[in-house]
């Protein structure tokens, strides 16, 4: 078997995943913290002020990585929800459940920092424009997934019910992304592009990319932390928890 495929299969085993999470949590959390400190210093104090928006543009270094993460986490959550629905893999249910609160947190950061950026830039905290409204809908989708999953006594049944909602909500992701192109919105268009030239100066782009990497690593850290906790909660009676987690040999 292909080593990557074999590793992926191994990752589906709770004891293996627990050991994997324990090994990688300090690395992901530590590197995320260092990168966030570098990115914040560079973005807040070293990068030049925007010629039009002044210093308020510096909110970009929190707002944009959070916005990217809010969408990326939703897609990852929906993929794990689909796997949980189709193949009923326990670990996918756990990853699905762990993604929702982290995604909700990033969406909340996106909305709050967007409002704080909007006031000095547009003169208003909130406008019912397409990008802002679809991002707010994403927050409600996350809340819906969290609420639905916790409404069931059986955690696995709750995860599968919430997975259906998450899959339906995926339609909102392209709406958020393309809203600035499809509609005439107050929100500015894309300044950073994966394909083609970005319209942001490299002196402002680099700290943004560092912050985006820090956000991704933080997500991994938080995901491993939450998934590890849920695993411990669900598998507390299993032999591997006694031997591996508590270090007790029978």
């Amino acid at each position: 078997m292909n080593p990557i495929l074999r590793w992926f299969h191994q990752l589906g085993s709770p004891p293996y995943f627990y050991a994997f999470a324990t090994r990688w949590m300090p690395w992901t959390g530590g590197i995320a913290l260092v990168l966030a400190m570098i990115g914040m210093y560079w973005g807040l104090y070293a990068a030049p002020a925007d010629y039009l928006q002044g210093d308020s543009f510096r909110i970009i270094y929190i707002h944009v990585p959070s916005a990217w993460m809010s969408m990326l986490i939703y897609v990852l959550m929906a993929i794990n929800g689909a796997i949980a629905l189709i193949w009923r893999i326990k670990l996918s249910e756990i990853v699905f459940l762990s993604c929702a609160p982290i995604g909700a947190m990033f969406t909340a950061i996106t909305l709050v920092t967007g409002m704080l950026w909007g006031k000095p830039t547009w003169g208003t905290y909130w406008e019912w424009d397409a990008r802002l409204t679809s991002e707010l809908a994403l927050l409600f989708l996350y809340f819906g997934v969290i609420g639905l999953a916790s409404a069931y006594d059986d955690v696995r049944q709750g995860a599968r019910a919430a997975a259906v909602l998450a899959l339906v909500g995926v339609v909102n992701i392209p709406i958020i992304h393309f809203s600035v192109q499809w509609w005439n919105t107050l929100h500015q268009g894309d300044t950073v592009r994966l394909i083609g030239k970005s319209s942001i100066h490299p002196s402002m782009l680099w700290p943004l990319l560092i912050m985006a990497t820090a956000a991704k690593l933080y997500f991994l850290f938080a995901l491993l932390l939450r998934a590890r906790g849920l695993l411990l909660e669900h598998e507390r009676g299993k032999h591997w928890v006694r031997s591996q987690v508590l270090g007790v040999s029978d």
């Binding site: 959070s66 709050v112 932390l225 939450r226 906790g229 909660e233 508590l246």
Partner: protein, 66 residues
């Protein structure tokens, strides 16, 4: 709060964004971390109780040494 933001100009909004984000990050991280610590402590305590119970049962069942 809103008046404070307006009186501190652009940097007021920037710092407010940093503070709110840090609080939301903490609100995301702390509950699962605390819950996990509690759970591990509970599991350890249960194991200690179980092993103490097993030990006392074995002690009772062991025949007296002549």
């Amino acid at each position: 709060m809103l008046e404070w933001l307006q009186t501190h100009g652009h940097w007021g909004y920037v710092y407010a964004a940093c503070v709110v984000s840090a609080l939301l990050l903490l609100a995301d991280l702390l509950p699962p971390w605390v819950r996990q610590r509690q759970l591990r402590a509970q599991l350890r305590a249960r194991l200690r109780r179980e092993s103490a119970h097993t030990k006392s049962t074995v002690d009772t069942l062991e025949p007296p040494v002549a």
